[in-house]
Symmetry: C2
Subunit: 548 residues, 2 copies
């Protein structure tokens, strides 16, 4: 009961940055302060058999902050973390900014050399690394870094726990002076080019956290399941969003679909996010069943197919289609489902839900433009580049002014993604970056071909790339994963395509098998391309910027 | 269907204030732009038999803005409105700031002289007045004002409609340069002192709108019933909050409880706000019945009594207890109901829910301090003044620096309200302003006595004031309204009090009858006091600042 805790003392509720009576700097750290103050005994984190309350999450985060300061952290120092979705990872999202540091959360699926590049480029002075991920850093020279190892056991023998235990649990005095300072740097997962460090501001992280609360419909009795890696765009700001409403974080080191269902049933999970492939994995698990309390699932990276929508609807999962990039704090547009869509035929509804839509509340509405930055016609056919601006755009690339200037040319952030603009103002992606296929001078949207193929009931998922062709330059080729229980031939799929697509858009070849994927479930088209283009020129390079 | 509308054109989606690629000024007007862009055909406003879509609400708001500019409006000009809860009133909340004006929404229950004072003090150059409220301004010299009369008919003969029809429906270019500029001035309802003009900023209004979305749990399928007057703290920022999620506004010129039930049943109302007396009126209406879809009701001005909580629970109404002042954009604290409270006995739960709680997400946590601004002990007993600061505090009193400096002394806003601070960090009001009763040197909380009396099952509502006493200075007197079907004597109520309160806190006298109330349902204790103190000295003056 709430009566048992000790009386408030001044530092706990003092605003982090007293500037004016009527202004406090927007700071995601304050969301945890408030949650711990108002809901101290509420369960904040469930991690296997470990549970911690908001008071505990806060105390542990302040200990991390104070420990870092005791170890010499100066304002703006970069603190890198190489961690799975775990309590330590959540604590880093509060403790590092509470200390005044900048969080650099490293993708745990990278190769050692890539990790080394990020540690070097970010100039990280501190590193928190999970013991299981130690092989990633073992080959690296870490002499310039203070390294804290984490066994993720929560026991006194865990070096991370010892680090916390040695530090003060008091709320650290805030060093934040302005909400436009950098809270984190997230490195893009460039595939052949060097990754770039995307800077998030305190203001942007705070506003996007509130946006996510509203888009996902989070409330105090929500339980959010961490299927999305927190190293990815700071988990789309959900560490801060879930905490803003003092809801429950349910963390998992790896996404095991059977365990997902156990947690849905036992912890009353109400929300999770991911790419379609994550949702596919979950809904196709043998334990899958209709849930009594609706589960909201944000889908990004690719539009939900009619099949996926239908299957999720049957389970009582509400699907929200969102789109964004690392540079936009994760999702920054949402498909605005209209009341009338519920009455449409499933295929028709899926077609509309496949649109990436328009801006989040605190984003500016996005545009689709030609090479001169003129708006393309809103005809649903003319392709252009998606550009963004406003509070939910990064403040720039860390120590890379040329790349920032290029990305911000004309006063807007250039996504590199190609889309059409529908008459209703919604955008619909045609291709991520350079994924467009240019065949005989015609642009073919790989997404359009993919959407046609996944509409086939026997198809689980699909990726289409351009392969070299002597006469046309490129021709589409489809890589298809069949549903476990389904049989379909290449000829049948081709016939299915011809009914739905112009002839020149139909793939020349179809290959069956599993698809290569990133840690976040995005299909790695560059892997397919490298194989198909081996010995050819020009295409590999063009693909390098497609997977920001 | 969304496909039928015309393609987007540049001015509709351009950010209102392009400052940096990664920053747009927070502006509630943009919430309507976005809603109209993404949900153009959704019902935005229901007003009797009239319905308008978000496209129409936006176009009408832009017409109002362009009409004001055509009539000579310069940036920062004050535009006064004397309107009931109606489409014109909603449009003023978007059209006036879209024009670059400052909205001065006048309490429609004031006397002519008070309205005249506000028009003069604010320096309003424009006035929109409802024809039914014309008697309020008829005695005034309006020669310096451009007056637009509104018949609230929506027909071409309505002068307000003619004003809109003559103006452009294009989105007006934004003149906003910084989000800390003033969006509105709301005059406090001082009773004997002069009202003061409370300045809201664009930033504060925007952030509080998002906070209200989250506190009330508004979503795209919500329908918000306008029981709370929009002239009161800009309707607690709900004109902007409801629009942020493109939910439905249901407006009513006056609060008629039978009509409330008709709208709950026919329009699927999911949310409304008000003082306990408004809720009492609604739940005691003969049509009252359990609703299938839960209705969320924010209660302010006085804590919900156990009886009220029980009755609302039976109807499937979720009660959220909030607290604030005009100076804090309406509510700025919320009682954080804990999961464990559901298991408590109704009286025990009501006792905890009577606490005003702690800060909204974007407010700083509030404090309770003594006269030297030191924190009072968190013992639930020591009274002190509630002080606030942060994004949800006014930027000052309009053209009244001395009053602003006094209210902001020590870097915090001084509410004048007295509260205790509980060990769990929640505050609980003991008295609004000077409502405390000082009897023989002891402070008696009038709220505490009221809470004891309304716990009696035969009592509908109650107000307690101090009345003059030769020996003790003051003694409490209770004014009690009995439930329609209940009989209870003064002696029975006194006996009931003696079981619950220290002897010196029990009222010396009890009087039965209806209570005088403000337009927002707050009990007007000053009316009772004036009667009781006629011929005495000192107390009337002390009461003057109690009803900010």
């Amino acid at each position: 009961m709430s009566e048992t805790i000790s009386p408030p003392t001044a530092p706990e509720w003092h605003p982090s940055t007293p500037s004016k009576v009527f202004r406090s700097e927007l700071n995601p750290v304050d969301l945890l302060r408030r949650a711990a103050y108002m809901y101290p005994d509420k369960v904040a984190v469930v991690h296997g058999t470990r549970r911690s309350s908001y008071r505990q999450l806060a105390e542990r985060s302040w200990r991390l902050a104070n420990g870092l300061r005791a170890a010499g952290l100066q304002k703006g120092d970069r603190v890198a973390v190489i961690l799975p979705n775990s309590p330590a990872m959540l604590e880093a999202h509060f403790g590092v900014p509470a200390a005044g540091g900048i969080l650099v959360s490293v993708n745990t699926r990278l190769a050692s050399a890539e990790v080394g590049y990020i540690l070097g480029h970010s100039g990280a002075r501190y590193l928190v690394v999970d013991q299981e991920l130690d092989p990633l850093v073992a080959p690296l020279d870490l002499s310039g870094l203070t390294v804290i190892r984490c066994a993720d056991t929560g026991t006194a023998e865990d070096p991370y726990e010892a680090f916390l235990a040695a530090a003060s649990a008091a709320v650290p005095e805030s060093w934040l002076e302005h909400e436009e300072e950098t809270i984190s740097v997230n490195y893009t997962s460039g595939t052949t080019g060097r990754p770039k460090g995307v800077q998030y501001t305190y203001r942007g992280a705070y506003l996007n956290a509130l946006n996510e609360v509203i888009v996902a419909g989070l409330s105090g009795d929500s339980a959010y399941l961490w299927t999305l890696p927190m190293f990815h765009c700071n988990g789309w700001c959900f560490p801060w969003a879930v905490t803003a409403v003092a809801a429950r974080h349910v963390t998992m080191r790896t996404v095991d679909p059977e365990r997902v269902w156990a947690l849905i049933d036992e912890e009353g999970v109400t929300h999770y996010n991911g790419a379609p492939t994550v949702h596919l994995m979950i809904i196709n698990q043998p334990r899958a069943h209709r849930v009594e309390r609706q589960v909201t699932a944000l889908v990004a990276a690719a539009p939900p197919s009619p099949t996926l929508l239908a299957a999720m609807g049957e389970l009582n999962f509400r699907v929200v289609h969102v789109y964004g990039l690392t540079e936009t704090y994760g999702p920054t547009t949402v498909c605005p489902e209209q009341e009338t869509w519920a009455e449409l035929a499933p295929d028709e509804r899926a077609k509309l839900l496949a649109r990436q839509g328009q801006a989040y509340i605190s984003s500016d509405l996005v545009r689709v433009v030609d090479e001169e930055m003129n708006d393309v016609p809103g005809d649903g056919e003319t392709m252009g580049e998606v550009i963004m601006r406003g509070n939910i755009v990064m403040s720039g690339y860390f120590q890379d002014d040329p790349a920032t200037e290029k990305a911000f040319r004309g006063g807007w952030f250039h996504s590199g993604d190609l889309a059409v603009w529908h008459p209703d103002g919604n955008i619909e992606l045609r291709d991520r970056g350079k994924d467009v296929i240019i065949s005989g001078g015609e642009n073919i949207s790989s997404i359009e071909v993919e959407q046609a193929i996944v509409a086939h009931p026997a198809v689980l998922e699909c990726a289409v790339i351009g392969i070299p062709h002597e006469r046309w330059g490129e021709r589409p080729k489809a890589f298809v994963t069949r549903r476990p229980d389904a049989a379909v031939t290449q000829e049948e799929i081709l016939a299915f395509c011809r009914e739905r697509l112009a002839g020149y858009k139909c793939p020349d070849a179809i290959e069956f098998g599993p698809l290569p994927k990133t840690s976040t479930g995005k299909v790695q088209k560059f892997v397919l391309r490298e194989r198909e283009w081996a010995g050819h020129e020009g295409r590999i390079g063009a693909a390098s910027s497609s997977n920001r």
